[in-house]
Symmetry: C2
Subunit: 139 residues, 2 copies
Amino acid sequence: MRSECPISCSLEIFGDKWSLLIVRDLMLHQKSTYGDFLKSAEGIATNILAARLQALEENKIIEKREHPDSKAKVLYRLTHKGIDLLPILFEIHLWAEKYFTIPEELKEMVNDAKKNKETAIKTITEQLKKQLEEEKSIV
Amino acid sequence: MRSECPISCSLEIFGDKWSLLIVRDLMLHQKSTYGDFLKSAEGIATNILAARLQALEENKIIEKREHPDSKAKVLYRLTHKGIDLLPILFEIHLWAEKYFTIPEELKEMVNDAKKNKETAIKTITEQLKKQLEEEKSIV
DNA sequence: AATTTTACTTGCAAATTGCAAGTGCAAATG
DNA sequence: CATTTGCACTTGCAATTTGCAAGTAAAATT
């Protein structure tokens, strides 16, 4: 650890160009497997993805679960700790919306949420937590 | 740009282990010079600091200003775009407080703010913007 | 005039990233 | 039931980035 600063400690976990994209995919894009993450537009390399998944798991942001369809697949899910990153992603989204040119479809998606930020965050969080409880993890 | 995703675009600007620490120092620790940032607990290397300051300036998160005391010094300030990162840092702080062991002094600092999140963010933002308007930039 | 302060730059080794190809197990197919 | 395909990685290697130590140049202090 570089310091006791909460911001610094947090950045040591997700302060890179990829980790929060995996969290985004799990949280907002219904992605849940290695293959899903690979398909994302940003084009993460296979080794980097594997490394990030391992680090996120070690830091208890995500956990591995049995895939209902096949033993060959691994289902990744956000933990409660990971789900609690939603407010951060939400604020990043709002900031980006203000300062970048964002696709209209995405803007609309957030526009409703923006009006009632706290409620929107709560709704998505509850939904993710429900999903979590219904499955078994791979230990 | 890797994609049009607002999260991804944002991470291309501040998705690393150092950039948000500089923003934190400017925003919450009344630091404003190269030397100030170097002194921070995390121990950034001089070349990395110079590179990050340049990148943050290119991305209009910070700007250089005349230092009132000396021409040898450079005063760095957050732009409006940079000040608007406060809600993100605030949410990171809250997340960290929940999942890390944080020094008591820092916890107390945030505890009041937590009760009235929106108001606290507004107060600090206004204060930073006021400071901004009162100085001249180095162009 | 000489020293110190401030904001950097430079050189180089070490670590990280990114690309391409390969591996191993599970499941589908012939 | 043998073979191919799909999925989740691993490995090797080149390129980029990081981190440390030392150096530089202008301004301020002594």
